[in-house]
Symmetry: none
Subunit: 317 residues, 2 copies
């Protein structure tokens, strides 16, 4: 159920600004596009202030052309999407408004649940769908694809443990009139250039394992990266190859992005007690329990040896 106060504030507002988090992902962009277009259908004036620093694969919504255009000094209502704190939003330096309403699915969100729409779901896109349905707004194909993008991104194509019955319910509604979403799924999760595929294959071929396959190390020297079109052709999933390997519980990707400039990504597999941020901190990097990274200067083979030594010291594998 959407709080009445949220519906009242939307009803009252004539002009609305939508904001979301920095480096927006598929949930942020999809939620923004779907809600913005929906509110316009209700006759609202909608502006968007969105960090433009996001992946190319998300740039297929026409509505993105309206982002960051003709901003006003004052808004009746600001809608903050997919973000549990205002600090982490991308927002104009000085922003004046009568009301702010948060629509977010993060567990850590501490905004009051009476005047905001905060509910733990797989994606903010689910909440946007419910809101548009409650407001009686018909979804056009772009809005449907935007909500699908939100959900598909945050659930890793319905694979992560946050996926719920309600997630599938929204997907069912989106698919009901026969619109085909396969091209969007492909775009979000599969499509690669030949260079990206080759880089991926070279990364697999570079796998070295230690400790009966429990540790997986991939080293990509500059020549390999250059041959396949440079650092930008290294897709996210390359850092996760080690985690896809059935035997591995800790993995290290060492990439020499420029000669002697080395970026290291470390991953560990649940449920093992291996906090990879500890390794990253030793090199002035950062991250989380299961994913961390840092930069080092030097020869990638020598760096590999050093890192493997540190892993031996820090972790019991």
């Amino acid at each position: 159920m959407i709080p009445n106060k949220v519906l009242e504030k939307i009803d009252k507002a004539k002009n609305i600004l939508i904001i979301t988090h920095q480096k927006p992902d598929g949930d942020a962009i999809g939620s923004t596009v779907a809600l913005g277009k929906g509110l316009k259908k209700l006759g609202k004036e909608v502006d968007y202030y969105v960090d433009q620093n996001f992946e190319d694969k998300l740039r297929f919504f026409n509505e993105i052309e309206e982002f960051n255009k003709d901003l006003k000094d004052h808004y009746d209502l600001v809608l903050q999407l997919d973000c549990s704190t205002y600090d982490f939003t991308h927002h104009p330096e000085s922003l004046e408004y009568d009301d702010l309403v948060v629509i977010d699915h993060h567990k850590s969100n501490a905004y009051d649940k009476e005047s905001n729409y905060v509910k733990v779901t797989a994606a903010t896109g689910e909440l946007i769908y419910e809101l548009l349905e409650t407001l009686g707004i018909e979804l056009d194909d772009e809005m449907k694809e935007a909500i699908f993008t939100a959900i598909s991104t945050d659930t890793g194509s319905f694979q992560f443990s946050n996926t719920q019955a309600s997630t599938f319910h929204v997907a069912e509604e989106l698919f009901k009139d026969g619109h085909v979403f396969a091209p969007v799924s492909k775009r979000l999760h599969k499509q690669k250039s030949k260079q990206q595929l080759d880089m991926y294959a070279d990364a697999i071929k570079a796998i070295e394992t230690l400790k009966d396959g429990k540790i997986c190390v991939i080293t990509l020297p500059y020549e390999t990266i250059e041959k396949n079109g440079g650092d930008l052709q290294i897709t996210d999933d390359i850092a996760n190859i080690g985690m896809d390997l059935d035997t591995a519980i800790l993995s290290v990707l060492i990439k020499e992005t420029e000669p002697e400039n080395v970026r290291v990504s470390v991953r560990s597999k649940s449920p093992y007690d291996l906090d990879v941020s500890k390794l990253a901190l030793e090199y002035g990097g950062g991250g989380h329990l299961r994913a961390a990274g840092f930069n080092v200067k030097g020869n990638p083979e020598e760096i590999k040896k050093e890192i493997l030594g540190k892993i031996e010291e820090i972790f019991e594998i």
Copy 2:
């Protein structure tokens, strides 16, 4: 709606044999396990005759231990799952039965739709879900995971264009009591052995493109397959690499699984009007608009040339 004749035949039968296609995939195994366990709950004697030649990642159902045990000489009913021709099933050499009912989702299935349950859906698993629901059988967790395995496999985790509103509806029902399917998804779509990763990398390295990258052909000669541990190390996603390539709209995977025994998988990308089952039918195979396959004997390089000729004839690319 499930044909009355199908329900009557199941009702009448005391002992039932379930068969499915050769080299069963997730849809075949998942459908078999869910239906078999369900019919046992109805008090039926159920046996399974299933080709044991399938991927390790599917071997997580306890019910698999019952496969191919204590087979009878005669069955009241044989249920043929996920298979559009009897020839393509894995079946006992001499099989006696009173009735045979086909439950299958393939478009190319030509069995009569009055006495079989043949309907185009994303997976046979969807039909099994509907059947179990109609029969009033409660699903245990293994049956839920079996149906999820069927659907998740055949839709590529809800990404392929065969995914429909009804597919999500079934998933929603499976998720309703909070059972978490993330470990199954990981098992089906992510975890790989070193040999499987190597095979995948070799497949990428074998990519050839034609027509400005619109056609993608991958040929895996027997030596490559043998080197990486054999046919069973060829994961489903290898047949889809061509579709992952951004430029490709039609792809062919030619694998010499045994010397001179060649299996061909063809894929086409939506929304292009390329019905790849047409090509498969020319070789006595079958499939769908977007995914089809067939077997040929001969040298893989020569077969490749011939197939490319046929593609030129059939499709305008």
